[in-house]
Subunit: 318 residues, 2 copies
């Protein structure tokens, strides 16, 4: 619709166009894999478990983790079909963790992505089971038979995802988070909690994208640093937005951390220093990726999407 | 210690000795993999998540699923190290499902394996997270790096386990179970629920053991039938024991199904017919295995453990 003024320099990388293209693939794939099978059990007129699973996964979310997987795969020129599966698997793990997190025995939240949370809509037991089934589905999606994805890639993707989701990753971080409410955490303790709680899965997204190609130890190392910086920056920005944005913009309850007396980067550092810290982490992420930016395709560095995503993540408003 | 009377015929297969040997391997491996790492988070003086995970997994349970994995691996002369990992992974999935099943929003049970349930001992949120982390750990255990287990075997084990645990397996069956309380189920509906809820993971145990070797489609098919019959027989016997045994013998609350007005094979068929049905299923399981019993080692059919386990399972008192 907008006529392009050719006298303006062409943008180096159009993140909007790239994201739109990738999200179309992800949404279609998720909708196919989190399917409503015709022989699903019907209770009280609805196909309970599968309906709850779809509700938890579809029509919502920024899909940041899938985008990181696909961008990292692009950076290493990896297998796109494997990456699409990895992208969806990571999102399923993320979605299940939100379902369980929102339950009354955990954060007891009623609003998520602008909609009632899964247990509010379907009940606690279906929410618990839907989360459990989403985790299993993630590993099922990673291990297709007869699709030509190398077994070694399948096994490595499962390993990366399982480690990031488990007790030395996301679940471990959530346990520390729960045990920390009302306690003063030191900076190393707060970093460690977030490294596990949100950082592990974000970093794993990058490493799973990389696992879809074959990379040198140097490139793998650079991507690992990128993933760690981006993962931490994401949480710092989350903490900032919790005090600066409103619930309607966030699509979830704002001001929750302060209300629950949870330690955050803002409570630890102050608002301005937390914002500065997010930008330092962005610089670290971009710096890590610059070392592998020499890989080029069509006049753009293959890492263009990774760079643009890191910027977006720190500059986001929700 | 016991002098063997040589005038007596030697027992064909000593299930007790075999089970003792296998359980020692399984318990040691589980204790190593569900580990209390030195840097685990400490809250209120205990290492919360990992302690809850160990409590849920160690020192309890019949380990029927691990034994089925190891027996099936023996039947196909498969890779014992892969089978030990598969055995422990299946048990972790089983253990997590019990933790979540017992929670107040599900069955609300306070006694399991003769001990307070995980949420009673540790709280609901730690129980939820411990279950989640146990599921992730199962897939982590299946995908070790640098242990010489073929990536194709790792991928296949993950696939079998994920399918059996998810919405078309255990979690799906639990959802039907929840939605069926107080409803009259037809025989096909009751069979379908149990095929998913308990049968899928028991059958997967057998198939995962088989996946540790290389088998012909005929042998795979025979083991699949064995697994289906054994899985169903297990549930029928469970339903029988729920009305004939007491809580102390069962190590869990007896009479629970009737109290909750849940449909069971006993409520559908009557006690005697349910007992007969269990023995018919045992005969089917033994018959399936007899077709591959020609594989022999040391004068015993390699399927001796599978046969003995099927008998034990139907004749058990708890």
């Amino acid at each position: 619709m907008n006529a392009l003024n050719v006298s303006e320099p062409l943008p180096l990388f159009d993140l909007n166009a790239w994201t739109t293209r990738q999200l179309a693939r992800v949404e279609q794939a998720l909708s196919g894999w989190v399917a409503l099978s015709s022989d699903a059990p019907v209770a009280n007129g609805v196909r309970g478990l599968e309906t709850a699973m779809r509700y938890a996964v579809l029509d919502g979310g920024k899909r940041l983790r899938p985008l990181l997987v696909l961008a990292a795969c692009e950076a290493v020129n990896g297998d796109q079909r494997a990456a699409l599966r990895a992208a969806c698997a990571v999102e399923l793990i993320h979605a299940y963790s939100l379902v369980h997190d929102d339950m009354p025995c955990m954060d007891n939240d009623v609003l998520r992505r602008g909609k009632p949370t899964v247990h509010v809509r379907f009940g606690q037991a279906p929410a618990l089971l839907a989360g459990d089934a989403l985790q299993a589905l993630a590993f099922e999606i990673l291990t297709p038979e007869g699709e030509g994805i190398a077994p070694a890639t399948q096994a490595r993707l499962c390993r990366l995802l399982a480690q990031a989701a488990g007790y030395q990753g996301m679940a471990g971080g959530q346990a520390i988070d729960l045990a920390s409410v009302g306690l003063p955490l030191t900076s190393p303790e707060l970093h460690n909690m977030h490294r596990l709680k949100t950082g592990a899965l974000l970093q794993a997204s990058v490493m799973m994208g990389a696992a879809c190609g074959s990379v040198s130890p140097q490139v793998e190392d650079a991507l690992k640093h990128y993933g760690a910086a981006v993962g931490l920056a994401f949480q710092v920005v989350d903490d900032v937005l919790d005090v600066t944005a409103d619930s309607a913009t966030l699509g979830k309850t704002a001001g929750k951390d302060a209300a629950q007396d949870k330690p955050t980067f803002v409570s630890l550092l102050g608002l301005q220093a937390a914002q500065d810290y997010a930008h330092q982490l962005l610089a670290q992420a971009l710096n890590s990726v610059s070392s592998i930016a020499s890989l080029e395709t069509q006049g753009l560095p293959r890492t263009a999407a990774l760079q643009a995503l890191a910027r977006l993540l720190v500059q986001r408003t929700h």
